[in-house]
């Protein structure tokens, strides 16, 4: 399955607006996306289509996120999510 490890640039981390844009982007694609902290085992990844699950990760700015995608849009969604996570919050 395609996957990437991406640094979370928004200072506050994966919270508030960056997090809601992230979840929206996942839900706009035909793919199942699982995420977790860098190096997380497959079993510890959470479903990125749930805002509650994403909030539960508590990913801070500067930390890295492991993103695994499966489905027709897997590569596209990874590109989109990587771009989002690489953008400072005030430019979102």
């Amino acid at each position: 399955m395609p996957e990437r490890t991406v640094e979370v640039v928004p200072e506050e981390g994966l919270h508030a607006r960056p997090a809601s844009l992230f979840v929206e982007m996942v839900n706009d694609h035909d793919a199942t996306v699982m995420i977790g902290p860098e190096g997380a085992a497959d079993d510890d990844l959470v479903n990125a289509s749930s805002m509650l699950a994403v909030t539960g990760l508590g990913v801070a700015g500067g930390e890295k996120l492991r993103i695994v995608a499966d489905g027709a849009d897997a590569e596209d969604v990874l590109d989109a999510l990587e771009e989002l996570l690489s953008t400072p919050e005030d430019e979102l």
Binding site: H15, S20, S50, T55, G56, L57
Partner: protein, 154 residues
Amino acid sequence: MNETELKELIDVDLISLDEPPAEKRAVIEHLLDLAVEAGRVSDREQALADLLAREEESTTGVGMGIGIPHAKTTGVEEPTLAFTRSTEGVDFGAMDDEPATLFFMILVPEGSSQDHLTILSSLSRSLVHDEVRQRLHDAETAADVQRIIIEEVA
């Protein structure tokens, strides 16, 4: 946070099991008033403004029937968590369109680094589980709710 700190964070006075108002902003004010009545808020207006500013950025209706309005604010001196629940459900603007039935308000003082995010993420991690949400709905007293939250956040 240790158990003593958690007990202070969510004192039984900060838990209401009565049906809250049916509209999002009114629920937020209702939670805030629990904290005001418990003597936890030094500036209600400021705390409300900070909570609403956060909602403006993106909703804290995080889906699965959960609403977690939160803010870092000069309106409180100590980290404070308030709880209420609804049988009717309230539109909290969640992405999954599920009405919210469990509400947690987190307020932390301005100087307190990222405490509110730590509380927010441990709470969210446990609320993902159906069984935890069900226990909060079934709890019969404020003390039961307090015990569940302490168990889950600790």
